[in-house]
Symmetry: C2
Subunit: 348 residues, 2 copies
Amino acid sequence: MDMSERKRSILRAVIELYIKTAEPVGSKTLVQMPDFHVSSATLRNEMAELEIMGYLEHPHTSAGRVPTAQGYRFYVNELMNAYRLSVEEAERVRLAFQEKMAELGNMITKAGRMLSQMTQFPVYTMSSSTKAVPTVKRFELIPVDAYSFIIVIMTNTDVVKNRLVRLPFPQHPEGIRGLAVLLNRYFTDLPAKDFSEEAVERCAAAAGGAGALIAIVLEFARQVLDAQTDRGFYLTGTSNILNYPEYQDVNKARALMDFLTEENSGKLPEPDERDNVNIIIGPENVEKELRDSSVIVVSYDIGEGQKGVLGVVGPTRMDYAKVAARLSYIAQGLKRMLQGEALPPFEP
Amino acid sequence: MDMSERKRSILRAVIELYIKTAEPVGSKTLVQMPDFHVSSATLRNEMAELEIMGYLEHPHTSAGRVPTAQGYRFYVNELMNAYRLSVEEAERVRLAFQEKMAELGNMITKAGRMLSQMTQFPVYTMSSSTKAVPTVKRFELIPVDAYSFIIVIMTNTDVVKNRLVRLPFPQHPEGIRGLAVLLNRYFTDLPAKDFSEEAVERCAAAAGGAGALIAIVLEFARQVLDAQTDRGFYLTGTSNILNYPEYQDVNKARALMDFLTEENSGKLPEPDERDNVNIIIGPENVEKELRDSSVIVVSYDIGEGQKGVLGVVGPTRMDYAKVAARLSYIAQGLKRMLQGEALPPFEP
DNA sequence: CTTAGCACTCTTTGTTCTTGAGTGCTAATC
DNA sequence: GATTAGCACTCAAGAACAAAGAGTGCTAAG
């Protein structure tokens, strides 16, 4: 049984109708469409064959057809027309970008919120370091007054963090500056776990009076380096799923929502390849909690050694073309913003 | 009609049963309790009076009694026994604090997650500045190499932020250090909106070649100061509400969930007074989206000029005593952690 | 004041029946 | 050989109805 042109267009019609209505599609509905000039009986025969081929299924005898995961997959790979944002929509997004991002706050967070609002689906964002082990590239200690100084730490991932430290005893600014030199000598380009006791002692010996501060600085360095492996997880719009009939069953909704949390951020799909929009359909998901849902996910470059991940979660009946288009548009904008570029009216 | 001792204990029993079961409480159920040595008829009479007094109500003729908001209020004010965490529970929390907090990340966030897990309700946290207008207390510019330097900004709220700036043209370290002095002269203790054109020009004139960098530094300062008014909102455990029968109606659940978002953080209850556990019952809420729910909220001191808010949202049928106890226990722990104290086995 | 008793109300649950959408199959038609 | 008309069949969903059960309010007696 081969995939005739007519079968393809029937399959496409069934899927697109089902995406819109969430109702099983029957032969009668199809016959009313202007696209088909055949009788309902013919459509029934074709649909029966599509069912045998695995693209459609049947909740029960007297119901219309519903796409299977395999059906969606075929649709995504072969049938789907690329969705192009309308000029208005693209412009609206661009303006929102300009405006919202100017408010500062976390740009990534804001972009996630925008995307969720546009798609009406939950959206997750995270960033994951691609550089293997984070190390300190440079220590900087700035004396503020006799009782306090600021630690500034730059990592090999070009992240800069600081902390104001208050001391219970006065400390000479020169001692602090000297300590910085020593710290840079002993502890740069070293993963946190290699901050050895021994090195601390040698450094303390060289530092004299300021040696007592080493532990404080290194503790902060450890925290910063640990935070580098942090996934910076953010999630919005989960409650949107309650809008869709597939999650009217509270248990299903809860199962998905419980899964979509920071704790599980490591289990959420990440794209296999940079800048590629990945579509994972229902049972294709590794995690069983996602097997009834689909995920569209993309990654984008941010700074050196870091990539960002942006994903949309929804029912398998999801307008893949539209969501993918919006997702990649936002990712594109985000990438530019993060690189500090101005925002040209980028490609829709 | 006065509130006899017996009425009080009947009211308490009804409320506590209803909190446990979410089922209307009838006279038969009460008569089975060992606490009452009267007949069901007597209980019925008493309950009818409690209903007239406004503490109970009746979904329909043949149903048991359900507490009204007024009933809960009376319970909270007069009837409720303070709930004391068991030693085991307190100890468990203390250990979790020690462990989880050591992982760093945002302590407040972690505490929120713990509380949500303990109560099985959604929890929100935010911090709000109590100091009126944020200003820069001190600018610090650290030259890194000819093409880059780090801006460090300390605010009057003792927040320190920094940013690495790359320049398209080389800049002499001395010029940068000189600029720092000028910035501190012209722009400290000044709200962001008073960074006038005029002041920028005067400063630029004095700075010479490095004057071009003023705009960059001030832009960052503006961002930092704006972020100071940020509420640092965090929310967890929203999906928990789906566990409770009062939110089995998907529309109700969605209404609440849609309301519980960052955008509405300003509308969420904040305690009237520092360190006081506030209980807001159903219709007592200002926001109509919360009128079917209750909120327990507390604030705690963090650093100077900042207070933190920690709140729990749940159905009006909520174990007020238990939740309040847990909430304030966590808030207490959080406060200590944030003040950098070690964790003694604090009061349950 | 308390309680036993009883009629009454209203929700909940289960049952049965009907309706209608949609199918699969067969036989006739192009 | 592909298409179509026709028809019997299936099954979910909804309506209508009945029965059960929980709980009430009231009355009259203790």
